[in-house]
């Protein structure tokens, strides 16, 4: 049972790690929400999105979650009139990152809830194991 519990811990830990990675990406998005290009030729910051994949652990055959990759969001950039900006084109428009604060907030909330769900799984399984061990006392 202890081994089963250990692989359970590992599975939930993979979820925790994956959500942490997602949180990092969200943090990068929010931090770069105002990163405009240095010149009209360059592009502004492009929003990043994390995708997950299921990986079967060779040791205990458990389905763990891994980060498949971090891809760029293809949503078009915004435009903002700011002639004084070094990144402004001839008409005075600057391309702005395709980061939407509301979307990031919701994404962050989702990552947070998912993290909590994984923690709850760890907590619940530990309680189960403890209660079972209490039978021996």
């Amino acid at each position: 049972m202890a081994n089963e519990f250990n692989s359970l811990l590992d599975i939930s830990a993979s979820g925790l790690t994956a959500q942490t990675r997602r949180m990092r990406t969200i943090a990068e998005n929010i931090a770069n929400a105002n990163t405009t290009p240095a010149s009209p030729k360059e592009k502004p910051y492009q929003r990043q999105v994390v995708t997950f994949k299921s990986v079967i652990d060779q040791v205990d055959g458990a389905n763990k979650v891994h980060v498949r990759g971090i891809v760029r969001d293809k949503t078009p950039f915004g435009k903002h009139f700011d002639p004084g900006n070094p990144g402004a084109d001839k008409l005075g428009y600057v391309q702005t990152p395709n980061v939407n604060g509301l979307v990031e907030t919701m994404d962050m909330r989702e990552a947070q809830r998912s993290y909590e769900a994984n923690l709850t799984v760890i907590d619940a399984s530990r309680t189960m194991l403890m209660r079972t061990m209490d039978l021996l006392k």
Partner: protein, 104 residues
């Protein structure tokens, strides 16, 4: 705590070795490989291994090499295994004392 568990283990082994004439009800006595004491021994060494691993990861965590998730899961796993071992030790000691208190 581990030393306690290991001494309990050796005490159990001694108890296991003593009554050679007393056979279990089921007939053939479990010898070697799969006996209860060997299982217990394995649990004890597993626990020691896991505690060492948890310590290693904690040390790496202090140095900033391991993530808090890794530390927490390693320590939680080691903690439950250790608790399992102590519960088993209690039970074994209790059984041993029970047998030694038996009047002939």
């Amino acid at each position: 705590m581990i030393a306690d568990a290991l001494s309990a283990l050796s005490a159990y082994k001694k108890a296991d070795a003593l009554p050679s004439e007393i056979q279990p009800v089921g007939g053939a006595a479990p010898s070697g490989g799969n006996s209860f004491s060997s299982i217990l021994e394995q649990v004890a060494s597993d626990t020691v291994d896991q505690l060492k691993k948890a310590e290693d990861i904690s040390r790496q965590g202090v140095q900033g090499k391991a993530s808090p998730v890794e530390i927490a899961t390693a320590v939680a796993g080691a903690e439950t295994t250790l608790q399992m071992l102590t519960v088993l030790r209690e039970k074994v000691l209790q059984a041993y004392q029970e047998v030694s208190r038996m009047s002939v």
